[in-house]
Amino acid sequence: MSHRVLHPPRAEPAPAITVNLHRAAGNWAAKRAGARQLVDWEAWREEARRVRADAVAHLPELIERLEERVRAAGGEVHHAATAEEAAAIIVGLCGARGASSVAKAKSMTAEEIGLNEALELAGVEAVETDLGEYIVQQLGDRPSHILAPAVHLSAAQVAELFGRLSGEAFDPEDTAALVAYARGVLRERFLTADVGITGVNMAVAQTGSLVLIESEGNIRLSASLPRTHIALMGIEKVVRDWTGAAHLMQMLPLASHGRPAAASTSVVTGPARDGDDGPGELHVVLLDAGRSAVRGTDLEEALQCIRCGACLYACPVYRQVGGHAYGSSYSGPIGAVITPALERSSPETAQLPWMSSLCGACAEACPVKIPLDDQLVTLRAAAQARDPHRGEAALFEAWARLWSRPAGYRATARTAGKALGPLWRKAARASGEGWTARAPFPFDGWTSTRDVRSPAGEPFHERWRKRRG
């Protein structure tokens, strides 16, 4: 019954993946503790927040400057107001170049615009070159984490998959053999791809440079081996200058992996110049898709996100349900904020802010100080205001009416303690003094898995009145 009145989002624990997520999150927590020894963490967070907030505050002017500098360096710039437009621009660029296959580096923004599906429809083979993306693509699965797309899978599942693909047997313990196999397959694909498509970690307006940060090296190859490089970025990824970018280039890997430098960082400023190796063409696709509309609202700080994935690892709900339970490209706390923020009218995504116990671990982990827990509360109110749930709204209205007056509050207490108490006990099997195993609506959701305290026969305020009043 409560599932209708309290309109919960649909999410259940996924024990099969929880064990993998716990391992990854445990590793992350240990690395994070290490990061805090390396730098003055709070001061670094504040500086990172300042750099990102400055970019969001001055977005139109910085995007204009970025565009000008990218063009000056010989690149082209395309503006996409919607996800569909961005996909169409990229498909069009591939088509115009007669591309039959593209090497695709991991990009959550590409996931957001449904790029793989769009390319497939156009008859262009999109080859994921990130190890985790390659694994989930081969399984017909979807990424479950911003940075670690296959974090929900075990080594045994990967060994089984590679065995099936290659016809050879793999030992799940032998990580080196698994990686070597994937590298062999993936390297070949860079050489045959006509176009390379990457995301962008940050774009520096000062020089029109794109910064690509990674741990595998596939992004650099995707951006340098094919003749054409298409870089897709949300407009909010711009930063003003290299001073700010340099700080974020350390902060991002610190927040993600606890190390102040990524395994590989590439800076792309325009296409290859005469005599240089590298793509002859650079196209930067600037995606808005709701971002401009978030500026100036009480969710604006969500645009500061640098997609480090720390809030996902920190979130105990994410660790129980996994990324797929969110049903959106971006999962975890930032996904529960940014998805409904970008798609303000979607009834499905409006439920995402309930995927949280509001414990605040996300906001604490965030390297750019996005108040994620506060924003989840803001979005809950927005969802209720737009699409009120009558039953629940009526309960809270009655509650407010009663509990805004001491007499109403005490009447509730008397009713709960004296009138309802016996009912509760009648419906219940004994569960120890003061406890009940089955409670009436709306607390039946609770007692499906837990015993509940019975209302005190004499609440504190009664005891006080009798003894001291």
């Binding site: 116990s357 906001a363 407010a400 007056r405 406890w435 609770w446 837990r450 005190a456």
Partner: protein
């Protein structure tokens, strides 16, 4: 009772400027031998479900030399409605809280950190559009304290004694209440008080800072996820050898205790104040 006042007065001077945090400035009557008057905000869950926690809070504060008042107009801080997406309803109940506790300038003490976090932080959101009311909320919020925060940081009593109300030597795991830990930044005060308790030993548990899965209406709406989080917490406590869990949030306590009972676990669950009673009084 004067024995309690002398160390208190001395500690008040030591308290000075440096021991304030979170905007929680309280003018202690430095040098005066006079009971500190406090207003008890018992909080609705303690009032209705754990009234003994309220009584023990009063007993502790009085033992420490406080003159405790219980303003009769109090109901709830309004947090359940705010967190469920009903700020308008939350505001009406929060108005009641402010009307009740703005009437006196004495510090407000609650045995439930989450409600203190609501008053200090949540009211900033509730009254963002109402400067007059926001000023009242900030004034009251600045003198509203969690019980451990008040005892340790305002009264300056790092330990207050107490005895574990069960088998001597019981290994105890401390569960940090999220809103007290991350919201109020009070990791140390409850552990400090626990350090003075006889008859139990504190065991370290893996990721003691992790949410237990209560989360107010979250526990009803995502009951299965909430329960899986409780199991993780309980299993870690047991793995660490704990026979009891202690916290300051009766929501967490009801959630963890209720789950432990359903699973038939041999694990006691207590509010911190249960352990701060002098021997033989529980």
């Amino acid at each position: 009772m004067s024995g309690f006042f002398a160390p208190f007065a001395a500690n008040c001077e030591a308290f000075g400027e440096t021991r304030r945090r979170g905007g929680a400035a309280v003018r202690a009557p430095v040098g005066t031998v006079r009971a500190v008057r406090v207003q008890l905000f018992v909080t609705c869950l303690v009032d209705l479900l754990y009234p003994k926690v309220g009584e023990r809070t009063v007993a502790l504060l009085e033992r420490l030399g406080c003159d405790v008042a219980f303003p009769a107009g109090q109901t709830c801080c309004g947090q359940p409605a705010l967190n469920s997406g009903y700020p308008e309803q939350a505001r009406r109940v929060a108005d009641r809280f402010l009307d009740t506790f703005a009437a006196s300038s004495d510090p407000v003490v609650a045995p439930f950190g989450s409600c203190v976090h609501m008053v200090r932080h949540g009211y900033e959101r509730l009254y963002a559009d109402d400067p007059g009311r926001l000023a009242v909320a900030r004034e009251v919020g600045g003198r509203t304290h969690s019980l451990p925060g008040f005892v340790v940081e305002v009264l300056g009593r790092e330990e207050v004694g107490g005895r574990y109300p069960g088998e001597a030597g019981t290994p105890v795991a401390y569960h940090h209440e999220c809103h007290m830990l991350r919201g109020l930044g009070e990791a140390a005060p409850p552990l400090s008080l626990l350090g003075g308790v006889q008859g139990c030993t504190l065991v370290e548990t893996e990721r003691a800072d992790q949410c237990c899965g209560f989360g107010g209406t979250f526990a009803l709406k995502l009951a299965q996820v909430s329960t899986a989080m409780a199991d993780e917490k309980l299993d870690r406590a047991i793995a660490a050898g704990a026979r009891a869990i202690v916290s300051t949030d009766v929501g967490c306590l009801m959630h963890l205790d209720g789950r432990a009972r359903r699973r038939g676990l041999d694990l006691e669950v207590h509010h911190l104040v249960d352990l701060l009673e002098p021997e033989g009084s529980l």
